[in-house]
Amino acid sequence: MERPDADLRLDAAIARHAQEEGALLPILHAVQREFGCIDETAKRRIAAALNLSRAEVHGVVSFYHDFRERAEPRPVLKLCRAEACQARGVEALVPAATRAASDRVAIETVYCLGLCSVGPAAMADGQIHARLDDARLAALIEAMA
């Protein structure tokens, strides 16, 4: 993060939600949307704003799969590998997808996008895609890279 502009943006993200009941999760989402991650500085400032210890904030950040402590510079493809997509053959798509992505696209596993009736499914930069096969998945990854 670049300071001090980043500090202002950080404080604004915190202030947007600080008055809510149980404000920590909304704040963490807001910070991650703003910066792509929740770094050490963010944890300390959030802790100060909510009167929590830095350890408590770290404990929450590290508990949830969504939160990152370092930003992911690459585009992210979230591939569903839960049972319904397994039953429709997602595992067979993984090797080719991994090759296609190489180091240009990050492939992450997600357990269920709620598209279990039209799998295999993936979310690419927030857009959802279903009925994937090798060709469609490769095209998707190519379009992201």
Binding site: E20, E21, G22, A23, L24, L25, P26, L28, H29, L50, G59, V60, F63, Y64, H65, D66, F67, A82, E83, A84, C85, Q86, A87, R88, V110, Y111, C112, L113, G114, L115, C116, S117, V118, G119, A121, M123, G126, I128, H129, A130, R131
Partner: protein
């Protein structure tokens, strides 16, 4: 001419937007509606009640010129998949625009809330109790008892929390309802708030459902005045499966790690921020407007035994007619999978069906006579859970599925209790040893005189005994359903498909197995 196309996530993921854009480009008027739930036909295009699907943008000229017979399914409402359902919760699916207050009111919306205000809180509690409505999230606890407990617990504040953390693979009914009929959920929560004397509520939605979050946020804004003074918020989860467990969910809403809480105290007595809280699933709350509007008796008339009303069943995985099928309890698993679902999408024989999400048992075709009913499933060591059915064809490797269940539990465990946190990791390792023949190399080296096959069998039997013991510890020693139910998929896979674990196959694949339970 108005063309109706769904904007449900399943339709969008199959390419509904480009189809809608192509129609608009051709000068047609588009109405974006909820999905009928016939997902194998998405993107489904509806013109004057006639359906065409699955479509692509390239089909648009043919449809407009009346040359798309190959895609035509006739009148949607007459399609056997729709006509054979009993839709109470999903009565509006496919028929209304999700964010249209006019559509909602024109289809009976807010009638339940009006009646709730007219008859008073006590009578609402009576109606929900009399309806026999049980929690649709999996546990099946009677909603009326929970609501009354919250209403009767002295407190300065009470909350309504909707558990919309639909993390089970094979389930999407909550998502469809939130995206397709968000006012129905809001109305159900407002009725619950009126009955329990709650001022505010939260809908906890998983972050994997951005479309549901967007629809709910807009619907809450649009209906703010109607449900006032009840105030409703959407709270976004952060990718933790265990937050579907109600006490984890409450911790998460409070801004804490989503670790489970020991019960008691029950959330109905000490829930969100320590206050009495109704925690119900999306479908439970969405069933309430019907009960209030049409009366408890109308609801009880559906179903069998102690499973009253209807259940939105989700047909998923390798199944031809995948989608949402709402019906009264009592239909058999085989009817659902074969008659309604049309068998596998791959055309190969069915090997296993997992019911109730990643913590549900794998059921072989020999048990397809089981009726869909909480007690019947429990009696067969299986779960209905949230009503998700995932079909696998004969290419499935049940040892791999058992390993996945353990792996999933290891990844998603909140870490609070040892049987789940460590048991799942040890379970995964044990299954890996069963796969590789166990510590066979060591054993054979130590006992060169022993016949290899015998040694392999003995080691494998030892590992299977260890796995069984481990599952028992997890089942009875875990604090919540994640650790406690992971043994269901593992042990059912082992029991019904021992050959996949390198053990002798069960001789009688038919009635013999079923007699011992699923």
């Amino acid at each position: 001419m108005i063309i109706r196309i769904s904007d449900d996530a399943a339709a969008l993921a199959c390419g509904a937007d480009p189809v809608a854009a192509a129609f608009e480009k051709a000068g047609a008027t588009i109405e974006r509606v909820s999905s009928w739930g016939m997902h194998w036909l998405e993107p489904l295009v509806e013109i004057d009640g006639h359906g065409f699907g699955p479509t692509t943008a390239a089909d648009v000229p043919a449809i407009l010129q009346g040359r798309a017979d190959a895609l035509s399914i006739g009148l949607i409402a007459d399609h056997p998949f729709i006509a054979s359902q009993r839709r109470l919760t999903f009565a509006r699916a496919g028929r209304t625009r999700p964010l249209s207050l006019d559509d909602y009111a024109a289809t009976g919306g807010w009638k339940g809330l009006e009646r709730a205000h007219a008859i008073g809180a006590e009578a609402v509690l009576d109606a929900v109790t009399a309806s026999g409505l049980r929690g649709r999230g999996g546990a099946g606890f009677p909603a009326g008892i929970k609501w009354r407990t919250v209403a009767n617990t002295p407190a300065d504040r009470r909350y309504i929390v909707c558990n919309a953390d639909e993390g089970d693979s094979g389930t999407f009914a909550d998502r469809m309802l939130m995206e397709g009929d968000p006012f129905c959920l809001i109305e159900g929560m407002a009725i619950a708030a009126h009955a329990a004397g709650a001022g505010s509520g939260y809908i906890y939605v998983r972050s994997e459902y951005p479309h549901a979050i967007a629809k709910l946020t807009a619907a809450i804004e649009a209906s703010r005045a109607i449900v006032a003074p009840f105030v409703l918020h959407v709270r976004e989860g952060a990718g933790a499966y265990v937050c579907g467990e109600e006490t984890s969910l409450l911790n998460s809403v409070e801004g804490k790690r989503g670790e489970v809480r020991a019960k008691p105290p029950l959330p109905a007595i000490e829930g969100l921020f320590g206050k009495p809280t109704i925690v119900n699933n999306v479908l439970t709350l969405a069933a309430v407007p019907f009960i209030l509007a049409e009366g408890a008796t109308a609801y009880v008339d559906h179903g069998v035994g102690r499973s009253r009303g209807t259940m939105p069943i989700q047909l998923a995985g390798n199944i031809r007619h995948a989608g949402l099928y709402e019906t009264a309890f009592g239909v058999t698993l085989g009817e659902l999978v074969n008659d309604i679902g049309g068998g596998t999408a791959s055309g190969r024989p069915i090997k296993a069906v997992q019911v109730g999400g990643p913590l549900g048992a794998y059921i072989p075709p020999s048990a397809f006579h089981l009726p869909f009913d909480y007690e019947a499933f429990a009696g067969a060591d299986a779960l209905i859970g949230h009503g998700g059915i995932v079909v696998f064809d004969d290419s499935a490797d049940m040892l791999a599925q058992a390993r996945f269940a353990m792996d999933f539990c290891a990844v998603e465990s909140c870490g609070k209790c040892t049987p789940c946190r460590l048991g799942a990791v040890r379970g995964r390792e044990t299954l890996d040893r069963i796969r590789s023949g166990g510590r066979l190399a060591d054993v054979v080296e130590a006992l060169p005189q022993m016949h290899n096959a015998t040694a392999a069998g003995r080691v494998r039997a030892d590992e299977v005994a260890l796995l069984t013991d481990l599952c028992e510890t997890m089942q009875y020693g875990s604090l919540c359903a994640l650790g406690g139910f992971t043994p269901y998929p593992v042990m059912s896979a082992l029991r019904h498909w021992p050959e996949d674990f390198g053990l002798p196959a069960v001789e009688d694949a038919g009635q013999g197995r079923v007699a011992q339970g699923v």
